[in-house]
Structure formats: C-alpha cells, structure tokens
C-alpha cells in the first residue's frame, strides 16, 4: 500500500532516510540541503528512527564521522550541497577507497565564488573521480526512489561503494510535488539488513582500516575500485527492476524519451529532463524528429549503453550544467563525445553549457538548441542564455 504525500525534494529524501533508519547520520546544514537535516532531526526527536544523529562542526567532520561509523559496521548517511561537499573533499575519497557504502544525497548547488546558492552541477562533477557512484534525479519522486535504492546498490557485496544521490537545488529540493512513498514495512523489507564485512567493532576479528599503502600495493587497491565500479551498472539495473516490481516505477541506467527514431537528440542530467521532454513533445508536433536521453547514472559512466542509445541520431546536443575551465566543453560532453570514437556511426555532437548558478532554462530555450543543431547554427561548445 503506498502513501501519497505533497513533499519537497528535501522532504522526500528525509522521508526516505526515515524509512532507511540509518544507524548513524552525521550532518551539517548547508543551503539547499538544510531541510533534509532539519526534517530528519525532527524524526529523530519524535522517536521515529533509531538513528544516532551526530551534529558536527563542519562537513569535513560529517564525512569523517561517517567513515568511522561505517567502518565500525553501521549503516550510515549524510547529506550536503556545494561548498559542503567541497569541504568534505579529502574524506570523500577516503570513504570510497575504504569501500564504505555510505549514502549521501547531494542537493546540487553552484560552488562559490561569487557566492551563489542555486542549482548547478559544479559540486557533484568535481567529485566525479572520487570513486563514488553518482545517480541523478529528475523530480522529487526520483530523489526519494533513488535514495531508497542507493542503500541496496552501495551495500551490494560485489560493489561496496558509497553513493551520491543528486537532486537539483531549489528546483527539486524546495519545489512541492506529489510523491508516492512506500509503505514503511515494505520499505524496510526492500532495503533489508546491512551485511557488514570486517566491522571494526567485531573485537574477535580485529582489523586495521587505513594503513599506509605505498607503491607496492596502492595501485592494486585502485584496480579493485575500478572492478567494483564495473559491477555497478548490473546491480543498479537489477535493483531498479526489483523496485519496479514493488512500486510500478522501474529504474534503469537511463531513460529514453522518443529516442528510437529521433534524428536530433539531447542528453541531460537531473531536473532539466522534465523541461526537455516538454520541448521534445512540441518539436514532434512541429514535425521535427526530436528525442531525449535522460541519463540517471553518471558514475560509473555507462559508455556502451550511451553509444547504443544515441547511435541512430544524426545530431546530439549534450547539456552540461557545469563547466570545466580550460577544458574542451563540460564533463558530460567530453565523455560522451569520446565514447563514440571507434563506433561505426558517430553523430555530430555539440555541447550546451547552461543553468550555471541557477540560471533558468525553459522549453523555448531547449527547442532553440534542437533547431540550431539541425540548421548548423551551433558551435562545438555553446553557452545557453548567457548575456554577451
């Protein structure tokens, strides 16, 4: 039996956390994540969860506490945004390399400076090489669904990696939507018990976490992380299917929207996909064969699946909500473009960097991108809605 509520993205994530009932949550407030921590803290005060909530003095401490608690054998969560994630940096890498399946919703926000509190993906994109799994959400429902599934994905024995669940700051975090929650008992059953491996608190089997690891073994441990990442897509698919059977909302690595016969396609992460679907509908009515690839998983990067999904398109617009200064376009663009090298069919790709610092993008903007692509009006790297 499901339970329909009006919730913000942050509220839906907080409710997912309530149902996950983590052993430990260490968290520090930062806009626009704060409401997750705030609402979850009220669940703790109301006795709705058994969680040990640690109020830390910074995000560096939040992630450090998570690492310690997770190594001890607890199920652990935190949540952050932008500068908070930046302050965690050192420990974000350590969490992944110690193979600790911490789940962290990241409410995407522009990195300073100049200081800005609104949405872009500069925070999560900076962490793309940290060894964390990264999934994106289109709406509040997906933010909830992804958070529940993230626990299962990260804790899978052949994965054992931390997971970032991305949701767009303000657009999703503060927008109120209709969200279908799982029944509490169903959620508990779906999530299951944490199976620990080498918990520090098992005093009968003492282990050491974090010893010095030099040129003789460090590389082998990195190779293991590569392998764990390679196992992720399969796990995401099977967990997404199981979730679909339970809720009717099946998840995969990506979602194709009118893509099969599309001549001109776009790829995006997060909430922009909602806007882009409306643009595709209108373009189709005008007789343009437009399609969309909504990418759910950015890490691990699903090379094969992306190439397969976009091979039939003639033109592909790749939307990046972050920038790589001095690089050749945004991160999504460079990876998708290089994924096609060596493929028989290679669509013409162009990069559209948009929405930095919360700059709006609407249906008309996206339609213009599709139209410019086919009329040859696009550069290789374009900036949407920036004033000259």
């Amino acid at each position: 039996m499901s339970n329909i509520q009006a919730l913000t993205g942050d509220g839906s994530v907080a409710n997912a956390m309530r149902q996950i009932n983590p052993d430990v949550v260490a968290v520090y407030p930062i806009t626009p994540q704060t409401e997750i921590a705030q609402e979850f803290a009220s669940f703790v005060s109301d006795g709705l969860v058994d969680t040990e909530l640690i109020n830390v003095e910074s995000e560096h401490s939040a992630m450090s506490a998570c690492v310690g608690a997770s190594a001890s054998g607890a199920r652990v969560m935190t949540a952050t945004s932008a500068n908070g994630l930046a302050l965690m940096w050192e420990i974000v890498y350590i969490a992944a390399s110690m193979r600790l399946p911490i789940v962290m919703p990241v409410v995407n926000r522009a990195l300073s400076g100049p200081i800005n509190i609104h949405c872009d993906h500069s925070d999560c994109m900076g962490a793309r090489d940290s060894g964390w799994i990264q999934v994106h959400s289109e709406n509040a429902q997906e933010a909830y669904d992804n958070t529940i599934q993230a626990v299962r994905i990260g804790e899978q024995e052949k994965v054992r990696l931390p997971v970032m669940v991305n949701l767009d700051g303000f657009i999703l975090s503060h927008g109120m939507e209709r969200v279908e929650l799982l029944d509490d008992a169903e959620a508990t059953k779906f999530i299951g018990e944490l199976k620990t491996q080498y918990p520090l608190l098992d005093v009968d089997h003492p282990v050491t976490y974090g010893p010095l690891d030099l040129y003789d073994y460090y590389f082998e441990h990195k190779r293991q992380q590569v392998e764990a990442m390679e196992n992720v897509l399969e796990v995401i698919t099977s967990v997404g299917e199981e979730f679909g059977k339970l809720t009717g909302r099946k998840y995969g690595i990506m979602e194709k929207y009118k893509l099969d016969d599309a001549e001109v396609a776009a790829v995006a992460l997060g909430s922009t996909n909602g806007t882009a679907q409306a643009a595709v509908d209108e373009l189709r009515e005008e007789g343009i064969r437009a399609g969309l690839l909504k990418l759910r998983v950015f890490r691990p990067f699903p090379v094969k699946e992306i190439v397969e999904a976009l091979s039939n398109a003639k033109h592909v617009a790749i939307f990046d909500r972050s920038i790589s200064f001095g690089g050749f376009g945004g991160p999504l663009f460079t990876e998708i473009r290089s994924a096609f090298l060596g493929n028989d069919k290679i669509p013409a790709t162009a990069n559209y960097i948009y929405g930095l610092g919360g700059r709006d993008i609407n249906v008309e903007d996206i339609k213009t991108v599709y139209k410019n692509l086919t009329s040859g009006k696009s550069e290789t790297v374009n900036y949407v809605n920036v004033r000259e």
Binding site: S97, M98, R99, L100, R160, Q197, Y198, H205, P206, V207, T208, Y209, G210, P211, D213, D216, Y217, Y218, E220, H221, R223, Q224, E227, A228
Partner: protein, 96 residues
C-alpha cells in the same frame, strides 16, 4: 623476497584483516648497515632489547641469542644506547 600479490588476492580497501601480520613484512631489506654485537663486551643488560623499535634483538633465558636480520632495519639505536659500546654498525657491503 616475498612475492607481491595481485589485486584479486588482497583484501579490499587496503584493510589489514589478519592481526599481527606485520611480522611478515621484511623490513630487513631496508637496512644499509647492520649491528654486529661483540659477545665478549656484552653484559646482557638488555637495554638494546628495550630500545629496538623492531623487536629484532632476540632474547632467550635473559641472554641475547641473535639479532633478527629479517626485520632489523639498521637504525643503529641499539649501538647508540649500548652502555658498553658492544654493538658496532657495519655497512652492509662490508659485513660478511
């Protein structure tokens, strides 16, 4: 030399899952000079045994029986601390 293991054979995450396995790590290979003890001079006061950071001074029945060269990394602390100067540090090339 211990054969180094491949990435499929080692515990994930750089964890050490068997307690006390530092013993298997042959720090003796770091040594550039080795301690040579003069048994005549040695009074078996065991000060070197206390100071040795690698537990390489092997004692049996209150007497030094050997210096464990698999683990002695040649720091020379024993030679410095010995009150009767019974230990000499000899460069590896010159020791037999």
């Amino acid at each position: 030399m211990r054969k180094e293991k491949g990435w499929k054979e080692i515990p994930e995450g750089g964890l050490i899952v068997e307690p006390g396995n530092a013993r298997e790590y042959n720090t003796g290979s770091w040594r550039s000079s080795r301690p040579i003890r003069d048994e005549e001079k040695c009074t078996n006061c065991l000060i070197c045994w206390i100071y040795c950071p690698d537990s390489s001074i092997i004692v049996k029945d209150n007497e030094i029986v050997e210096i464990d060269l698999e683990h002695c990394k040649g720091c020379g602390i024993c030679a410095t601390e010995c009150p009767v100067k019974a230990i000499k540090m000899v460069p590896e090339g010159e020791a037999e």
